[in-house]
């Protein structure tokens, strides 16, 4: 029996999500998990006709959870790199984003060209932001942090680094919770990269189901609505 059968039999879709931060998946002030990915997952479960169960791991626990079958799928703001795809199967991308550079509001760095060999840049360990930045600014000095996007912004604000690089949608979402006008995002993206959900290679049924799901929700506009609310604007700020 395939993974879909198991899910149906169980009546429960188990999703490992990384509560990495707004706007994809985070805990709002009432202690409820919410965000773009979270709502998409709820929609998926609804369409399957089963309940959804979120398994709340941090980054370290995400992949083992999927591989050890604790979870049926991963829903995180994860870029399907070719290396990663050697190990797990990704769905079709449901949106595109890109790495951006951000600096302190009053920083002398105004454009991407101002970043020179000596500039200290903060990136997240193992993220696409890290590899993008190293491609575009091979000579900058890098400090790799672990522990989530807000930590990068904190490092920039505290002055440990001059600039930070991270996924654009994540940065925009996270900056929203800092005091207004503390951080400035530089014009332009370093890359254009897709985001996708992931399943195991032994679940082709679930994979093609998800691809179809993205196709349907794109066509009927539900995906676009979700992304417009969460990712392309700060509308969610008021409600959460």
């Amino acid at each position: 029996a395939g993974t879909l059968d198991e899910i149906l039999k169980r009546g429960e879709l188990r999703i490992a999500c990384q509560t990495q931060g707004a706007p994809f998946s985070f805990v709002d002030r009432n202690g409820n998990r919410t965000g773009s990915s979270v709502e998409l997952c709820e929609l998926i479960a609804k369409e399957m006709g089963v309940k959804v169960k979120f398994l709340n791991y941090d980054w370290d626990g995400l992949i083992p959870a999927l591989l050890s079958k604790k979870a049926d799928m991963l829903a995180a703001d994860m870029t399907p790199t070719l290396k990663r795809a050697m190990k797990i199967a990704f769905t079709d991308p449901y949106m595109y984003t890109g790495s951006v550079v951000f600096v302190k509001q009053n920083s002398p760095i105004k454009t991407l060209e101002d970043i020179t060999a000596g500039t200290k840049m903060a990136v997240l360990l193992g993220s696409t932001g890290e590899s993008d930045a190293k491609k575009v600014f091979p000579n900058a000095q890098y400090k790799t942090y672990k522990g989530g996007g807000p930590l990068l912004i904190n490092a920039v604000l505290a002055g440990h680094v001059q600039a930070g690089v991270n996924d654009g949608s994540a940065v925009r979402g996270q900056v929203a919770s800092f005091p207004p006008n503390s951080v400035r995002i530089l014009e332009g993206q370093l890359s254009r990269s897709p985001l996708a959900f992931a399943v195991r290679y032994d679940s082709p049924d679930l994979q093609s189901w998800l691809n179809l799901f993205f196709l349907h929700t794109t066509l009927d506009g539900r995906l676009g609505k979700n992304l417009d609310y969460w990712v392309n604007s700060l509308d969610w700020k008021e409600d959460h």
Binding site: V27, K70, Q174, S177
Partner: protein, 222 residues
């Protein structure tokens, strides 16, 4: 700027208290289980059976020598492939109990070996059995050496419990990480985390100091 976040943080307090409860539950259960297992292993480690001693010694080495996170992962993610399927909470308690037991084992063995040899000899000479010697003569005296580091170990256990958040147990530290995404003033959020741990640990540390005072006759002043 701190005022800006302070109200937000106060709003999250119930969430933090849930984390406190989880930390207390995980470490409390592990404390009990770890103490029992640790005492048994410690007694065996101080005993005569060479094979048991070596086996326990190797177990203690591996547990003490590898990161706790890895142990948690093995129990939660790798044991299922051997057919042992565990929920996050029991897996966390088992991992933490195992860690605690390995440390307590060393403490107990040390305490038992510190009881003067003459005590055991006197008990042997009056015909008490091995078990009776342990129960009535050796352990009651060993407790004096065991108690202070034991309580110290409990404090370490409570702090180590934060690692289990990696498998989705929402304890104080995890609440801190989740909150810091929304209230990005890490200093304040983790300050609160520190205060909450302090509130749990400080009474324990005082307890250990109290026991130490009760058990030592003269205090050294240099």
């Amino acid at each position: 700027m701190w005022g800006f976040y302070f109200d937000e943080l106060m709003h999250s307090l119930p969430f933090f208290l849930k984390g406190v409860w989880m930390t207390v539950a995980v470490s409390g259960l592990s404390l009990i289980a770890g103490t029992i297992v640790g005492f048994i292993c410690g007694i065996l480690r101080a005993g005569r059976n060479k094979i048991l001693r070596a086996v326990i010694g190797a177990w203690v080495d591996v547990i003490r020598g590898t990161p706790f996170l890895v142990q948690v992962f093995i129990i939660f993610f790798i044991l299922p492939s051997a057919g042992i399927e565990l929920e996050a909470f029991p897996a966390a308690v088992i991992a933490l109990s195992n860690l605690t037991a390995s440390f307590i084992c060393e403490i107990v063995a040390g305490g038992i070996l510190a009881v003067p040899k003459g005590q055991r000899e006197a008990a042997t000479a009056s015909g008490l059995s091995q078990y009776q010697q342990l129960r009535f003569i050796v352990l009651p005296q060993a407790m004096r050496t065991i108690m202070p580091p034991l309580v110290g170990q409990y404090v370490l256990l409570i702090k180590d419990s934060s690692v289990v958040s990696a498998i989705g147990v929402v304890d104080i530290t995890r609440v801190g990480w989740l909150t810091v995404q929304r209230i990005p003033e890490g200093l304040m959020v983790f300050g609160l985390v520190g205060i909450l741990y302090f509130a749990i640990c400080y009474p324990l540390i005082n307890l250990s100091a109290y026991m130490e005072r009760r058990m030592t006759v003269v205090s050294t002043r240099l």
